[in-house]
């Protein structure tokens, strides 16, 4: 343990390169092999970049859906208050606050992926430049040196390029791990939504543990109370206008919202 981090890491990379070099009798063959490996690495690197971009887009979509959901709950709360149903408004706002917690989880994940994507884009550019340089260099070495003379040059070049590729390989692994994690989390969320666990927390609460239900209600209660007051004030200020607008835009949204509100009620009274 005498060496520090810097030295030990460089030794690890060197021993990797030396192992590769030992595999061939003529060291020049190693160069071609290394070049093949680099091309494979580049393909993988590009694939990782595409995966990260896909994951990022997926999270963006999720955030958008969740935001729409929050808006919908807000609208429901308004309608409920207009109808004088404070209990329903409270339920809708409780859901809204749960949805907002989802946004709070998704946003840093999104930032993480954006950063990851930038890093990989930079890695692709840098690695491609190195691979191009290596292709030229290996041909020069092969043409100008005998096997014996080439040994040292090749060992150096190979170690340099192995480091580069090891670095790229780690970037790929890291990106894959991150995307896999996020994917698993996204899948879990989709599953929960599909099973109704997230979508209908009130129903779940009433059939589940009463204490949990109460705690959940209390924890998101303060925000909900103040928002309820805000809505009341807002509606008191312009109630005539709101009602008029409501009857004018009855279309699809209003009956749907009312129906949802009724469902909340049923769930609550069970």
């Amino acid at each position: 343990m005498a060496d520090g981090v810097m030295k030990r890491m460089s030794l690890i990379f060197k021993s990797k390169a030396n192992k590769a070099l030992d595999k061939y009798e003529d060291p020049r063959e190693t160069l071609d092999y290394a070049y093949q490996k680099q091309l494979e690495n580049m393909t993988q690197l590009r694939r990782s970049l595409a995966d990260v971009a896909t994951a990022r887009k997926r999270i963006e979509l999720q955030i958008k859906q969740v935001q729409q959901d929050a808006e919908k709950r807000d609208l429901q709360a308004r309608r409920a208050l207009e109808m004088g149903r404070e209990d329903l408004a409270r339920d809708a706002l409780t859901r809204k606050s749960e949805v907002q917690q989802q946004i709070a989880t998704l946003t840093p994940q999104h930032e993480n992926l954006v950063k990851q994507e930038e890093n990989l884009t930079r890695a692709v550019k840098g690695a491609q430049a190195k691979v191009d340089a290596f292709r030229t260099q290996k041909e020069t070495i092969k043409a100008n040196y005998t096997a014996a003379q080439a040994q040292t040059r090749i060992a150096e070049t190979l170690t340099g390029i192995s480091e580069e590729m090891g670095d790229v390989g780690m970037a790929i692994q890291r990106a894959q791990d991150k995307t896999a994690q996020l994917q698993a989390r996204a899948d879990a969320m989709t599953e929960l939504t599909a099973s109704g666990a997230l979508d209908d927390p009130l129903a779940q609460l009433t059939t589940g543990d009463d204490i949990d239900a109460e705690l959940n209600r209390l924890s998101s209660g303060t925000g909900v109370d103040s928002e309820l007051e805000r809505l009341k004030l807002e509606l008191a200020g312009g109630s005539a206008k709101q009602l008029e607008a409501g009857s004018g835009t009855s279309g699809v949204a209003k009956p749907g919202a009312v129906q949802d509100a009724e469902e909340i009620k049923e769930g609550d009274s069970k």
């Binding site: 343990m1 520090g4 981090v5 430049a129 030229t136 480091e163 580069e164 692994q173």
Partner: protein, 92 residues
């Protein structure tokens, strides 16, 4: 001497910088050994910052082995420990 920061590239530094870097590296190594997250983060940050400050980027068309290699800036303590304990984490 040439120092590589994983994920960033290689930098050329004057040999005279080695003493200073070694001191910072000792800090890092002991933080890794002790498993102290805060100390590790601080040691990583100052070592990487100093290397970036003192180093000139190696031109991309030069393919040379590094004298020293440092983990990428966002590495966790566990990742660095894994890197040092085995070569399993470094592909191909």
């Amino acid at each position: 001497m040439i120092v590589r920061i994983l994920g960033e590239g290689q930098l050329v530094l004057q040999q005279g910088a080695l003493d200073e870097l070694n001191k910072l590296d000792d800090e890092l190594m002991s933080a890794v050994r002790e498993g102290e997250e805060a100390k590790f983060r601080a040691a990583m940050d100052s070592l990487l910052a100093r290397v970036r400050e003192l180093g000139e980027p190696l031109p991309v068309e030069e393919i040379k082995p590094s004298d020293f290699i440092l983990p990428s800036a966002d590495s966790s303590l566990d990742e660095v420990r894994d890197l040092l304990s085995s070569d399993g984490l470094i592909p191909g």
